[in-house]
Symmetry: C2
Subunit: 333 residues, 2 copies
């Protein structure tokens, strides 16, 4: 990109950076006022890996932010600042950058996130967006993956598997829509594709997670894989009741068609960006009433046990899957 194009980009992003600490994006750094703990996370998304080349560009901006908000939410923190690094392909029209900025601006407003800064560079490769999000803990402690205890119950927010149904319907397996009721294919396709393109991390539940969770993680690599991360870090086993998995209407339709294989697929698919957490059984009532009060869906899906690994258990008590590899794009976080 030319120097002029970079100036244009700055002109597009500067109005989004209204926080004084952002210094109007004219400086080399941002300055954040902090007292106590700052929670920090960073996640990058890459065209062809985490989103599709023809996904609407405003949803790419939003997804890049939201996957990071998902990490903070699962840790009981609220975002107090984001840095957005835009690595723009030489081959993609620079005119799309205005729509990227518009989408980003909409989400910064929706989630009340100050844009603190970032970087922009060109690339001969695919569009890549790297976001760092800084958060403030909403409780006395930041739950880690390592704090699950045998006897805890396992909870998840929202519904799982839709993002995978969405991306499958767009790519390898459009036939996946054949599992849907014929009069609802269009509506279901739109629904699951939106879930893929626009994850909706349960930010409203972050404070409750800070209050109730022992261990937590966001579900990005697949429910079973992320549960396995908690199990490994906490040196415990996790049993998940397949029948208890929260599914959307398209998810139910898919499982009606594919049975246990379908359940396993949805539980290992990834890109859900929901919060998975464990809590002491005596917190159950509080968790449910808080979720009801906030209008956030939570489901009790299993238990923490002594041992190791994750078991996804069917209605009859039999194990549906031995492994939990998920579809990991990523390392650790």
């Amino acid at each position: 990109m030319s120097a002029d194009e970079f100036d244009t980009i700055r002109d597009l992003f500067a109005p989004l950076a209204t926080d004084a600490g952002a210094r109007g994006l004219i400086d080399d750094v941002a300055v954040l006022e902090a007292q106590g703990e700052i929670v920090v996370t960073t996640d990058a998304i890459v065209e062809g890996v985490h989103f599709l080349a023809d996904d609407p560009i405003d949803t790419v901006a939003k997804k890049a932010l939201r996957v990071n908000l998902s990490d903070l939410t699962a840790k009981g923190a609220t975002c107090v600042g984001a840095l957005v690094t835009l690595i723009w392909p030489d081959s993609r029209p620079a005119s799309q950058i205005a729509d990227f900025a518009r989408g980003l601006g909409e989400d910064l407003k929706l989630y009340n996130v100050p844009l603190l800064g970032g970087d922009t560079t060109s690339t001969p490769g695919p569009l890549t967006v790297s976001v760092t999000a800084l958060g403030k803990p909403l409780g006395a402690r930041v739950p880690s993956r390592a704090d699950a205890q045998a006897g805890d119950q396992v909870w998840i927010t929202g519904e799982i598997g839709d993002a995978w149904l969405g991306v499958m319907s767009l790519t390898e397996t459009p036939a996946i829509l054949g599992a849907m009721p014929s009069d609802q294919v269009d509506a279901f396709a739109a629904f699951v594709r939106a879930r893929y393109r626009l994850p909706a991390p349960p930010t409203a539940f972050a404070e409750a997670i800070a209050r109730f969770a022992r261990a937590s993680a966001d579900v990005s690599d697949g429910l079973c894989a992320d549960a396995a991360n908690i199990a490994r870090a906490s040196r415990v086993a996790i049993r998940i009741d397949a029948e208890a998995l929260p599914l959307s209407a398209p998810g139910h339709a898919y499982v009606s068609q594919y049975g246990n294989d379908g359940l396993v697929r949805l539980a290992t698919a990834g890109d859900d960006y929901q919060a998975l957490f464990t809590a002491a059984p005596e917190r159950r009532g509080e968790i449910m009433s808080e979720a009801k009060r906030l209008g956030v869906a939570v489901a009790l899906i299993g238990d923490v046990e002594t041992g190791a690994g994750v078991r996804l258990v069917g209605a009859g008590g039999g194990e549906l899957t031995a492994g939990a590899s998920g579809h990991r794009h990523r390392l650790g976080r």
Copy 2:
């Protein structure tokens, strides 16, 4: 990459993340203890844009960190944590990741930087490394680009232009080495290539910058372009004396051959990663004695004036260049 490969990567990086807040890289987030202001910056480097495909991979890791340390240093801050996002090409041998981690580890130790976390993903495109660095201000204020005042003097650390000579000698213009004394071509080539691959931000001078600087910026896009950023943000003009530019022996040899055109080229080339700052004239003695005490090279290269823009002025007082566009890869920071 497969899940196994991601585990391998985590195993390579986890030993580098010794800070308790990094949570051993097993968690979704890091936790940083903060009191007061946190200075935040993020810069990404892309293969084929900011480094060459065949640059040694350990130097790529170091460069990614150092370009961010350069931003913090120029703002009078010291790094208290880094997040490193590694976007690894499908086509590059994963075996190189161990060398990347080794190089990163060496620099984390050299600069005493805690690795707090990061992300790893595969890409069908070029190797890209995105780093976010968090810093603690070493003085009462964090100098911005906007605080230069007419009457200030303009200072720069280190020497300029070598990185450009280095990359030119490796790419389009190996003939550039023809400007060098024939008995020193090999030594000069090694020197300027190292300057390109391994910038050396003047971290030892960060505290002095915090104490003395009114306005500051790091020189990444080229001395004239970064001076123009200060001039624009501060609504002042900056005059730079071409004769005062600090040059290395290869830089001097290049200018002997190409004269004023050579000087202009070195002053607009970029990738220097030195600190450019303005200070009140009465601080001159202190700045020089502090630089001497710390063993950091600083040069007084010009003045801040009323007006707008940057002028690079030759020995006779004539202007060598009207513009200051530099070779900007990047936006703002």
